[in-house]
């Protein structure tokens, strides 16, 4: 009940911190926000799957990696721009998601949670090592001119391309919110997420809804995979770290709270970018996230025990 004032206080604190960073080193703020956009856009589909299908997809990042590879080869073969390829890639990964759901996830839904965890863990390994097997661990990159576009404001100069991730993250979050509250399919999915048995009783095809949600999540991940390729070099292990980061962000926001992922990503992106600003601390920036995830999980476990 005391959530509202506390959330407001936290938001005020965050704003104050952001403002002081902005005055001290504006690039820290800018790159932090860009990084946050990337994290959020990748985490949101995982939040969707966790919120509705109740599966922790440990292959999440690897699906993005597969999408990026598919985009890479499609672009190399046809000379297409990765941006143009984002939509077809999304369609392909959606189909892949449907197949993966039908063949594997669906059969483990009734199994203990631990089996599901190990299953998706195995899926992730099969995907990343399968790509490794087919295309070796060589890094691949597509060079694009517009990615290095930068903007100068007075003395300040920074890259602007990565703001596209922020835009996609916001689009994903609010698009999904609209989908889940305004469309019949979306409402059905929400109902299934809240209570699968109740949803089945009122005539919703739970199995089909799960499949659809999984395919939709993978479509979003696939689109992100194509976008990811515009900015970064790819290799078979590139997706793995994003699985953990996404899970952390979803757990921080609270399962089922998709717009909350945006705030959680902002916190992670800004703190990483803040640490990177100090030369001596640069190597420690990676640890922020892991400390954060443990703190969040332990903090939540204490809260659960109280309630």
């Amino acid at each position: 009940m005391a959530m509202k004032p506390r959330a407001a206080a936290l938001a005020a604190l965050g704003l104050a911190a952001a403002a002081s960073i902005a005055l001290w080193k504006p690039t820290v703020l800018i790159y932090g926000v860009q990084q946050a956009g990337l994290y959020a856009a990748i985490a949101i589909p995982m939040g969707l799957v966790l919120g509705i299908v109740h599966i922790v997809n440990l292959a999440h990042g690897d699906f993005m990696m597969v999408a990026a590879y598919a985009t890479y080869f499609a672009c190399k073969a046809s000379g297409m721009d990765p941006l143009v390829a984002a939509l077809p890639t999304a369609a392909v990964t959606a189909a892949l998601g449907w197949v993966v759901y039908r063949l594997t996830i669906r059969k483990a839904l009734k199994a203990p949670e631990l089996n599901q965890l190990i299953l998706t863990f195995g899926l992730g390994i099969a995907l990343s090592q399968g790509v490794n097997l087919l295309f070796t661990s060589q890094t691949r990159k597509i060079s694009l001119d517009y990615v290095s576009a930068s903007l100068s404001l007075g003395e300040l100069s920074f890259g602007v391309w990565s703001f596209v991730f922020v835009a996609v993250a916001v689009l994903y979050a609010y698009g999904l919110k609209l989908f889940l509250t305004r469309t019949t399919t979306g409402k059905a999915a929400l109902a299934v997420g809240q209570n699968p048995r109740g949803a089945a009783i009122v005539g919703i095809d739970v199995d089909r809804t799960y499949g659809l949600v999984f395919a939709l999540a993978l479509a979003l991940v696939g689109g992100m995979g194509a976008l990811f390729l515009t900015k970064s070099a790819i290799f078979p292990g590139v997706g793995g770290p994003f699985t953990m980061k996404s899970f952390c962000l979803v757990a921080m926001a609270g399962i089922g709270n998709i717009p909350g992922i945006l705030g959680a990503s902002l916190l992670l992106g800004l703190s990483e970018s803040f640490l990177r600003a100090f030369r001596g601390l640069r190597g420690w920036a990676d640890i922020v996230f892991f400390v954060l995830i443990i703190a969040v999980i332990l903090g939540r476990s204490i809260k659960w025990r109280k309630s």
Binding site: T104, L117, I118, F121, I125, L133, P236, F290, I294
Partner: protein, 311 residues
């Protein structure tokens, strides 16, 4: 199986394992060493799994043990033989410390936290340049026992023996009942007077210190440790696949799985330079979907079909 027969088989396997250096060359011994390390890790992973807790952090405690052993020699001037038990002690202490916090977590939260902790260990070691050598790692003056293939083999065999002995102890003492009760139903375990947290802590500390011991043995048999070599995700992944394939909640299952997968991986490594681990991913998927009891469970099912159906 007949008890006498299984004892005779075990004795035969033991004498063959001890005598192997007299029969085989350097390459088979090295393969055997690798397989034994993974086998021991698979057994320790399974020991904790018997309480229902899935750890994804084997590589973390293994790597800590490896660094504890190497740094014990280089920074504290320990003799090599002492640094290996020190590695076990160190990993055990770390596990005791973190166990107090994380053993209150369950299911996926426990698993994710162990995975995150393994990453934290790696990043800390990676960043303490002056003490741990940073990304380049640390190199010992020489490999333990002068790098003699037979002695290194016996060292790994001793590590495996420690894991198997601990697992046997877990199977044949009160711990077995405590862990099984916790796995089956925590509420009923608690109401029967099982101190859940204490037994989980015992299991976690024992398995972690054996993982540290194995890390120490591993680092000493190569004479160096780098963050990438000893915190390799394979030290989590391979034991997991081995235990799942062989059959979980037993000692025999992980051993069987490790022999099969270890030898298969060695063969595949020669055939496929990249991505031979895809086999592990596929095995995990297939086992979870079609034979959650592993090979051992299938063998039992085949041996007693009637009993199974009524159960």
């Amino acid at each position: 199986m007949n008890r006498n027969l299984s004892r005779a088989l075990a004795a035969l396997a033991l004498s063959a394992a001890v005598a192997l250096p007299a029969l085989a060359g350097a390459y088979p011994l090295q393969v055997a060493r690798n397989v034994m390390i993974y086998m021991a890790l698979a057994v320790t992973w399974d020991m904790l799994l018997r309480s229902g807790q899935i750890s994804f952090g084997i590589a973390g405690l293994f790597g800590l043990g490896a660094y504890a052993a190497v740094l014990g020699v280089l920074r504290a001037g320990m003799p090599a033989w002492l640094s290996i038990p020190f590695a076990a002690l160190f990993s055990g202490l770390v596990a005791l410390l973190i166990g107090f916090f994380i053993l209150r977590l369950r299911a996926m939260y426990f698993s994710i936290v162990t995975l995150a902790l393994a990453e934290i260990f790696r990043i800390v070691i990676h960043n303490l340049h002056d003490f741990t050598g940073g990304p380049e790692g640390v190199v010992l003056q020489g490999v333990i026992a002068g790098g003699d293939a037979g002695k290194l083999y016996w060292l790994a065999l001793a590590g495996l023996a420690a894991a198997l002995a601990a697992s046997w102890w877990f199977e044949n003492s009160r711990i077995h009942f405590a862990l099984t009760a916790i796995r089956n139903n925590e509420t009923s375990a608690k109401s029967s007077g099982v101190d859940i947290f204490r037994w989980l802590l015992v299991a976690f500390v024992v398995t972690s210190s054996i993982q540290g011991l194995l890390g120490g043995i591993y680092a000493h048999s190569f004479g160096f440790a780098t963050p990438e070599s000893v915190f390799d995700a394979n030290f989590t992944l391979l034991p997991l696949a081995m235990a799942l394939l062989g059959g979980i909640h037993s000692t025999v299952g992980p051993v069987l799985g490790a022999v099969l997968l270890g030898l298969a991986a060695e063969w595949l490594k020669l055939k496929l330079p990249y991505g031979h681990l895809v086999v592990y991913g596929v095995i995990i998927i297939v086992v979870i979907l079609f034979m959650p009891q592993g090979l051992l469970g299938m063998a039992r099912k085949a041996a007693r079909p009637a009993e199974r159906r009524t159960a």
